[in-house]
Symmetry: C2
Subunit: 295 residues, 2 copies
Amino acid sequence: MAEPIFRRLCIIGIGLIGSSVARVAKARGDIADVVVATDANAEHLERARELGFADVVEADTGAAVEACDAVMLSVPVGAIGAVMQRIAPHLAPGCIVTDTGSTKGSVIRDILPHLPAGVHLVPGHPMAGTEFSGPDAGFAELFQGRFCILTPPEGTDPATVKKVAEIWRRAGSTVEFMDAATHDKVVAIVSHLPHLIAFTICSTADDLAQETREAVLKYAASGFRDFTRIAASDVDMWRDVFLNNREAVLEMLARFTEDSQAFGRAIRWGQREYIEDRIRRGRKIRRGLIERKQA
Amino acid sequence: MAEPIFRRLCIIGIGLIGSSVARVAKARGDIADVVVATDANAEHLERARELGFADVVEADTGAAVEACDAVMLSVPVGAIGAVMQRIAPHLAPGCIVTDTGSTKGSVIRDILPHLPAGVHLVPGHPMAGTEFSGPDAGFAELFQGRFCILTPPEGTDPATVKKVAEIWRRAGSTVEFMDAATHDKVVAIVSHLPHLIAFTICSTADDLAQETREAVLKYAASGFRDFTRIAASDVDMWRDVFLNNREAVLEMLARFTEDSQAFGRAIRWGQREYIEDRIRRGRKIRRGLIERKQA
């Protein structure tokens, strides 16, 4: 077994992602000697004790991070600033703070003002998940074969970046580096906008007249069904994602709306070639994904 | 084996759907004594001969339908009027004409003017498909466990409706009846709008600056990947669907656009409760689908 990366790793927030990190750390043994788990939700703490995926389960957030050389924030991104403020006085000098949030600009914006001198920040985003949430939903293999994007601000100590990257490599992921602004644009189009669309189309269907709505549920073809798979997601997490990646999501929504209105106009005016071109471009992107083995 | 429903069934258009009907008819033997296949595409005819899923492969559409007691039009819905005009003089008295198009109002509109006296029309829509197309893509099990919607105009002879319904029941589908206008609204929201959105989001991504576009392909998370699965579809078929279900698609696009703009506005103004409500409604619809075993 390789030397553990950290002596004592505290995971704050033990939902799907946080509890999966705890599980893979426990299973491998070479991520941290000791894994501490804490959560604002008392039921989560109780489940953590029952499921046994952490060495220490601690209700007090401040006490949980004490003497840790690494702290991973795995809470909805809207809560990260408050959690950081709460733990700041308890962080040991030299401690590395990282996170698993789906937005990176807002995380850096919310953490930096509270970051004590001598404490390092390496923001991260494991691109993994399921449609389930909570401590029972996690599993040690969640990150295998997935990407994890790290967005260390300029000037971050390379040694700390290397350690955080190593967590994800040992969990089975490929680690990539990007600046926070690029990250936020990319996830806005590959993930946040598709979720916004999926949530919306469900509401649109739900608002239809009773008779049509019943038929919609009955005949949901694969198209609509794929959308609703996306839509079965954690409320707090997704509310915070939209609110904390606002500019990029609104920009992508605006671009998408222009394009869908142009598509609608082509349908209204019978512009066959425009419609065919849009369909062909969809197929081209699809082929691109297959070639990259992402499909 | 049950008595075959028809003596001689001609399938016009042997792509994914048409060739799958031929295959299940061949495999069961109780749908028609003789299956005739025809197609405007010479390569499709050649493949039909090689694959052997029809008893007779006939290049001339008029000759193909002669002496048939049933004809199934399985061509893109935009071609149905022209095909009907071409075959009308060759149809035997008492023949039943059916189709497999994804739009039903336009099919009735385009067929009725050419329908000879004594020939029956029973429009149909098997709600089955894959992301592949062409005679090689078909398979006998395609319709198993799926719905097939029939939209016979008022006054249609119930005996002919029963025979067409029996094709789909023997192919493994559950048959439902609906008027054409309701059908077109339902498929607009469960299938046509999701495809329009999927084609559009691929174009939107393709229009991004080179650097972001490359990253999009690399990091396509499950959200975007599900969309591109929908988007890998036949160009002619989907162009015709949009053009021939224009009113319903534009109505559903307008409703969806209003709803997505309202969602965007809530993000801009930080309306947490509005966003949470949208996410919850998505989850509710998702649960509805699971309860109906459609998910």
